[in-house]
């Protein structure tokens, strides 16, 4: 018995000298191997095949032969990028040093409904400040905040300040209490979901169920976890429960989409403008054997009425920018919001 133990220990000790504990990637990896890695990963982990009625096997049949015959890495990139384009998802990208594939049809096929120059020159005038990531002003007795990206970190004390500025006459140069606030998130492409929750919490009067999220938990296209309830709770020292209008357009995506949905659930908030672009899945990253990185959605979320947030959040009041107004320096959607609040 002791000989067996000694021999086993000797064998283990010899094994310990093995040079590579974990084998490195092969020097030569074919285009098809890389294609298959992406196709298989997406097949197992992507969350919207059923919702978008996508035949992923047919897509493989179409693009795999092209990956086999791709002569250069540029051609291979285009083949995989074209395959990913079929998912019609702004959260899906292929990233190599020389290019980033994307599907931006969620806003390119729609009116822009936003003109930064018009805002900057004609509306951001009175009490205009740039407080961290927030452009803010008082327009015709109504508070106004423009928030460009949820990637910009939100500071709690800044939110306190902004609410005080619009709600306490001591904090603005006009010495007024605003009739309401317009939060302009048009062209905000998203960022940190936590930031969206933090911001929305300032306008919540009570803990509110705003969505349910399902996580992909198995390789089948319909393998999902049980629903995870997402709540927004009142947050911060200063909160605002007077009339609020949130301005949206098709370029509102991802975290901004979640923000718009959350805000829509509060009784004092009205969404105005165009539908958001969507982006209801939380994306994750992966890396191909070739080293390129790709990203895709692995969850899906529904609002409290069961609407799939991947397809955007509809406004309470649809308003499109009038091109004649725009030429004259007028933001039609903002004007509608001002009128709406002043007549509350």
């Amino acid at each position: 018995m002791k000989k067996i133990v000694v021999l086993a220990l000797l064998a283990l000790s010899l094994g310990s000298c093995h040079k590579n504990l974990v084998e490195p990637e092969k020097e030569e990896i074919s285009g098809v191997e890389n294609f298959d890695y992406v196709w298989n990963t997406i097949d197992q982990k992507y969350s919207f095949f059923t919702d978008k009625n996508i035949d992923w096997d047919a897509i493989r049949e179409e693009y795999r032969p092209k990956a086999r015959t791709a002569r250069t890495t540029l051609e291979l990139f285009d083949v995989i990028a074209d395959m990913l384009f079929e998912l019609e998802d702004g959260h899906v990208n292929l990233s190599a040093g020389f290019d980033l594939s994307r599907n931006w049809e969620w806003y390119l096929n729609y009116p822009q409904n936003f003109n930064y120059t018009v805002l900057e020159r004609n509306y951001w005038v009175q009490d205009y400040q740039i407080s961290g990531p927030f452009h803010n002003a008082i327009i015709d007795s109504v508070g106004y905040i423009y928030y460009e990206s949820f990637s910009d970190e939100i500071n709690e004390s800044l939110l306190n300040y902004l609410i005080l500025k619009f709600n306490d006459r001591r904090y603005n140069s006009q010495g007024i209490v605003c009739k309401g606030i317009i939060i302009d998130v048009r062209n905000n492409g998203g960022g940190l979901v936590n930031g969206a929750e933090l911001f929305a919490g300032r306008f919540a009067d009570k803990k509110t169920l705003v969505s349910t999220r399902l996580y992909k938990n198995g390789p089948g296209h319909d393998d999902f976890s049980k629903p995870h309830d997402e709540y927004i709770e009142p947050v911060g020292d200063e909160r605002y429960t007077k009339p609020v209008v949130v301005l949206t357009n098709r370029s509102c995506y991802s975290a901004t989409n979640f923000f718009a949905n959350s805000m829509k659930h509060f009784p004092n908030v009205t969404l105005m403008g165009d539908s958001t672009g969507g982006g209801g899945g939380l994306p994750i990253n992966d890396e191909m054997p070739l080293g390129w990185r790709f990203r895709f959605s692995t969850t899906k979320s529904f609002d409290s009425e069961g609407n799939n947030l991947e397809f955007g959040v509809a406004p309470d009041i649809f308003v499109n920018m009038d091109s004649e107004d725009e030429k004259n320096g007028i933001d039609t959607i903002l004007e509608e919001a001002l009128f709406f609040i002043k007549n509350q």
Partner: protein, 267 residues
């Protein structure tokens, strides 16, 4: 800090022996404090298809209780460093914390009583966090393993230049392991959904038992110990540690080899 390290290294020589003998007492307690470096290779398919590797700093503390017929060792260890992919240069910050309790019963001796075999078991647990610096929602990749493993050791005590040394080789192979890996397609744990169970408890509840077929680990260490007459001493250890989780989806394999220099304080 430098003086503190020098003092720590010299301490074993300065401490006066209670007994001027190398004869083992009935029960002997020692504290070992060590530092060193390790080289880790890892491929976590839940995170990437690429292999990451890099140097980490290592620190370890051990409590050792030696009895005439057995040895009990309680070890805690922490490794930290940056791993890099050779393929695309991406970086992962790696944290690894763990420890084990090992019991060894003194077995037979052979080769003219020079080689001593001990055998017993180990309860071993370790946690890995790999933070991918280029990712967003799945940047944090956690895993935890708790294993029961048979263990064995061959020790070869010898004298050189009138000094006492012991060369040893120790290994353990887990047979049953409790595996905790995050969700199939992200960095959440199943128990976190709707916060039925939160925190560490929730993570632990998301695990499952695994046998040798699914979780394989080879843990071995070569050690050279230099013992002073007062029972204090120094030890140099080369560790070789490899594991592979052969799950159908998101398998992970990682290996770690490294050296550790420890000071032994007998008390």
């Amino acid at each position: 800090m430098r003086y503190l390290l020098v003092c720590l290294c010299l301490l074993p020589f300065l401490v006066k022996a209670q007994e001027d003998t190398t004869v083992r007492k009935k029960s002997q307690w020692s504290l070992l404090v060590g530092t060193g470096a390790s080289y880790q290779f890892a491929r976590d398919r839940g995170m990437s298809s690429l292999r990451y590797k890099g140097v980490q700093t290592a620190s370890q503390a051990e409590l050792l209780w030696i009895r005439p017929k057995s040895e009990h060792r309680l070890v805690g260890r922490f490794d930290y460093g940056t791993l890099e992919s050779e393929r695309n240069g991406a970086e992962v910050t790696a944290y690894r914390g763990g420890g084990y309790y090992r019991f060894l019963h003194k077995g037979p001796s052979f080769w003219k009583n020079r080689l001593h075999l001990s055998y017993g078991g180990t309860l071993d647990g370790f946690w890995n966090l790999r933070y991918h610096t280029g990712y967003s929602n799945n940047a944090y990749n956690n895993e935890f393993y708790l294993s029961l493993a048979p263990a064995a050791q061959i020790a070869f005590p010898f004298r050189l230049f009138k000094q006492q040394f012991t060369l040893s080789y120790t290994a353990h192979l887990p047979l049953a392991t409790y595996v905790v890996r995050q969700g199939f397609s992200g960095t959440y744990f199943d128990a976190f959904i709707n916060e039925e169970v939160d925190g560490v408890k929730g993570a632990l509840q998301s695990g499952y038992m695994s046998g040798w077929g699914t979780f394989r680990r080879y843990y071995s260490e070569f050690g050279l110990e230099y013992t002073l007459k007062n029972g204090n001493g120094m030890r140099v250890v080369y560790t070789w540690d490899y594991y592979r989780l052969n799950s159908r989806y998101n398998p992970v394999e990682a290996g770690l080899k490294g050296g550790l220099f420890s000071i032994i304080y007998q008390f």
